[in-house]
């Protein structure tokens, strides 16, 4: 055996042994956990198969109960096995999804014949995020005060997606009276999803117009929530929102101005003419682009000179949307584009491109 010339110090030996031992222990521990998970998965897969089978049986019960000519009572339903309530709730939710009116009401009555409330309460309290969201979504189809109280309570959930599920169900139940407290909860939310929030808010419909316009105008509120309120106003489509949107078109925040102008274009009220024309000269590209689109949608002939000037804007998108808007105005706009396209500048180029695209289309 050769002699070792670089003798490690005690510290180095301890470090080297520590590396070896700790790596080995970590690897063994990870492998042990992996094997435990494999065994668990094997058990869960077997359970899943049994649950799928049971779900199919319960689905048959649902259909036959729904088709029965006499009202269903708890006594007339088959005895429940362990784990059935969870399946019933999931099944009920899946069946309710495409249904409205009396069909949905019959499924809810059938669900009520089983002791599902205790399960819903338990899942809301102890379930994981996905289970909570599903339970809250299911409650949209109920109509009693107890479940309404659950929803109002969960409208203040810390998890934003759980909160959204509760809000969505409150909207489905047209609980407009809950809006002030909902808005208070939203103001405190740490996380947002503007698109989903807008979708939820628009489901409250016209009865919520007043509160939504107030929210959109509230400069103390989070900009994300204000944007969601404007999108909701746009999606609700009520012309009563136009005066408020016109005011918002002069907001100091670019996003708010742009979103309001876009909404005014969608709502199609000629009363927005002055606001849209003014927005065509906005300093921000995002606002000018939306204003040009809105002018096209509203067929604002008074905006034509401004749109013609915007064909030479520094932004391609402003030029393109202005050309599009002129085209949408009909014969006058189109003939202007024809004439302009024969020249040799930036405006002529976009006019020619737009005409070419529209003609081929």
């Amino acid at each position: 055996m050769l002699s070792i010339s670089i003798l490690p110090t005690d510290f180095e030996i301890a470090l080297l042994l520590g590396l070896w031992a700790s790596s080995l222990w970590m690897a063994m521990a990870a492998l042990a956990v992996a094997f435990a998970l494999i065994v668990r998965r094997s058990y869960e897969n077997a359970q899943d198969r049994r649950q799928r089978q049971r779900r199919a049986e319960l689905e048959r019960v649902f259909w036959s109960a729904l088709g029965a000519s006499i009202p269903v009572t708890a006594e007339s339903l088959p005895a429940l096995r362990r784990g059935d309530i969870l399946l019933i709730c999931d099944l009920g939710l899946d069946m309710l999804r495409p249904l409205r009116g009396e069909d949905a009401a019959r499924i809810v009555r059938l669900l009520e014949a089983w002791p599902i409330r205790a399960h819903i309460k338990r899942m809301l309290k102890k379930g994981r995020r996905g289970a909570r969201i599903r339970m809250l979504t299911l409650l949209a189809h109920f109509s009693d005060q107890e479940t309404l109280a659950f929803l109002r309570e969960w409208a203040g959930a810390v998890d934003f997606y759980v909160q959204l599920a509760a809000l969505r169900s409150l909207a489905a139940r047209q609980a407009v009276e809950a809006l002030p407290e909902i808005l208070a909860h939203l103001a405190r939310a740490k996380r947002q999803n503007i698109t989903m929030l807008a979708d939820v808010l628009r489901r409250f419909g016209e009865p919520a117009l007043e509160m939504l316009t107030a929210l959109a105008a509230d400069r103390q509120a989070q900009p994300e929530v204000r944007l969601a309120a404007i999108r909701a106003l746009d999606a609700i489509g009520a012309l009563e929102a136009v005066p408020a949107l016109i005011k918002l078109a002069a907001d100091p925040l670019t996003d708010i101005r742009a979103e309001s102008i876009a909404a005014l274009g969608q709502l199609g009220d000629p009363a927005a003419e002055a606001a849209v024309c003014h927005a065509l000269s906005d300093r921000e590209e995002a606002v000018r682009v939306r204003a040009a689109r809105a002018a096209g949608r509203l067929h604002l002939r008074s905006a034509a000179p401004l749109l013609a000037a915007l064909l030479s804007d520094g932004s391609w998108w402003v030029r393109f949307r202005s050309a599009e808007a002129l085209y949408e105005m009909g014969a006058i706009g189109q003939s202007f584009l024809q004439t302009r396209s024969k020249e040799a500048d930036q405006a002529a180029h976009i006019a020619a491109e737009l005409l070419s695209e529209m003609e081929v289309a």
């Binding site: 055996m1 050769l2 002699s3 070792i4 010339s5 670089i6 003798l7 490690p8 030996i13 080297l16 042994l17 590396l19 070896w20 700790s22 790596s23 970590m26 690897a27 521990a29 990870a30 492998l31 956990v33 992996a34 094997f35 998970l37 494999i38 065994v39 998965r41 999804r97 994981r128 995020r129 996905g130 289970a131 969201i133 599903r134 997606y161 969505r168 996380r191 947002q192 999803n193 503007i194 698109t195 989903m196 807008a198 979708d199 628009r202 994300e224 999108r231 909701a232 999606a235 996003d255 391609w316 998108w317 393109f320 050309a323 491109e353 070419s356 695209e357 003609e359 081929v360 289309a361």
Partner: protein, 480 residues
């Protein structure tokens, strides 16, 4: 043998200090790398816990049926993809997303890619005004489909993948675009899931990356993965494990730390306006996806703009993994070369406080893992056993080095699998989990070392200034 070792021992004795230094450098870097990996595990777990969509299919469903949405353009660069392009476009048109436009960019293919698209989708030449915001090779013709108004095909001169994506960016009319490889398949709900960070943080979110998984072995029909299974071949299997580790741990952890430096070119969503501001993708690098992300970080940091990038683990894009050693080696060498190109191109960001976490953490991570990692590990494989045999290093040193490379590697791969099973449940059968656990152990004994050789080849190609992509033969996912 004994004589040879004795003479080596005598020859090296004079350089004891150098040997001592090199040995501890090799070990030290290994320790540092493993500490980084160790820190990534809890970070990845926390990120998963905070943003997990795994159990929340309900919110995605509500988004699908909503009237209010965020429009997205799918950009599909395709070069000689005749084997699978039609099926992939069908799959993209059938995605569960309320407002999606598909733009396929035929990058001067010399096979029947364009012909197959024209025939299948009854494409006609159309005119489409476009914003010439980023440069690219000339467009020959644009096609539209009367059958699918949301489908457009751009036929252009060959200029590489980055050039093709640049053309797509110019023709894109939505605020967000998603790059998907022509040989990959998006899961039907992938976009719905991947878009969520843009909805949560619309003002700051610049880019979002999704997960890439290996489709080899899966049952694919009508452009959709119908049954998830593992391949029976070793190479796709080991790549399945690698992808789980790379995406589920590394990217999630980097995303958590706010230093996401790469979003895969096979599936990433970007804000168009920002991609335009940075001048699009650079066609002069093989790591164009990596480069774009770093370029965005650099630009936004220099502009002092508040921004975010996220990796979302749930949306999945399925890709065909190479099944031969030759093709896999070529791919890995190219990836390594791409990482080096980007690192040295933006090297001034390293430990530069003006680039915040990206410079201080992201680039340091790249230096330790991508730049120094392969060469040091390779040196360790050769030197440590040799010096031990020559009696110049203690046996404890050899054991520690083996623990760092082989045993810790097994731990890290198995831990990734554990996290995947605990949080995502994407491996469908217990049997598959068992196979992957075995792969997690075995990949460290041989495959890891070969992979390191490929990475060194990438280093060599980088030094030689090789810019070629190399041919990647695909069989098409239908038969994967």
């Amino acid at each position: 043998m004994q004589d040879a070792l004795s003479s080596l021992h005598d020859a090296l004795r004079e350089h004891e200090l150098l040997i001592y230094g090199i040995s501890w450098w090799i070990l030290g870097l290994g320790i540092l790398q493993n500490l980084i990996y160790l820190a990534q595990l809890p970070a990845a777990w926390l990120e998963l816990r905070t943003y997990s969509q795994a159990e929340d299919s309900e919110s995605s469903w509500q988004m699908l049926v909503s009237d209010i949405t965020v429009p997205v353009t799918l950009l599909v660069p395709a070069y000689n993809e005749e084997a699978g392009i039609v099926q992939n476009v069908h799959a993209m048109l059938a995605l569960e997303y309320p407002d999606v436009e598909v733009i396929v960019i035929n990058d001067g293919s010399n096979d029947k890619t364009l012909g197959k698209l024209i025939e299948t989708f009854s494409l006609n030449p159309v005119t489409r005004a476009f914003d010439p915001a980023v440069p690219h090779k000339p467009v020959r013709r644009i096609y539209g489909s009367p059958l699918h108004p949301h489908l457009h095909v751009i036929d252009k001169d060959n200029g590489g993948k980055a050039d093709a994506i640049n053309a797509g960016i110019n023709f894109c009319r939505n605020p967000l675009f998603c790059v998907v490889d022509g040989d990959s398949l998006l899961e039907s709900a992938a976009l719905l899931r991947a878009i969520r960070p843009f909805m949560e943080d619309p003002r700051r979110m610049a880019a979002v990356g999704g997960t890439i998984r290996v489709a080899n072995g899966c049952e694919i029909r009508a452009g959709q993965v119908r049954k998830i299974s593992l391949s029976e071949k070793f190479l796709p299997l080991v790549q399945t494990m690698e992808y789980i580790r790379a995406f589920l741990i590394a990217r999630l952890a980097l995303s958590r730390m706010g230093v996401l430096t790469i979003i895969s070119g096979a599936f990433g969503i970007f804000r168009r306006s920002i991609a335009v501001e940075v001048g699009g993708l650079s066609p002069d690098t093989v790591g164009e996806d990596f480069e774009l992300v770093i370029k965005i970080h650099r630009y936004l940091r220099e502009q002092k703009r508040d921004y975010a990038m996220r990796y979302v683990p749930e949306p999945v894009c399925w890709t065909e993994a190479p099944e031969t050693w030759r093709l896999l080696g070529r791919q890995r060498a190219r990836w390594s070369r791409g990482a080096l190109e980007v690192f040295f191109k933006y090297g001034d960001m390293l430990l530069n406080p003006s680039y915040g976490r990206i410079g201080m953490i992201g680039f340091l991570y790249m230096l330790l893992i991508d730049v120094l990692g392969p060469a040091t590990e390779m040196l360790g494989y050769i030197l440590v056993p040799l010096l031990c045999l020559a009696g110049l290093l203690n046996i404890d040193f050899l054991l520690a080095y083996m623990a760092l490379t082989f045993v810790f590697g097994m731990f890290f791969s198995t831990a990734s699998l554990v996290l995947e099973e605990m949080e995502l449940h994407r491996v469908p059968r217990a049997r598959d989990l068992l196979i992957l656990t075995s792969v997690a152990v075995l990949e460290n004994l041989g495959y890891r070392q070969i992979n390191n050789v490929w990475r060194m080849i990438g280093w060599w190609q980088f030094i030689c200034g090789n810019k070629a992509w190399g041919e990647m033969k695909r069989r098409g996912l239908a038969r994967a």
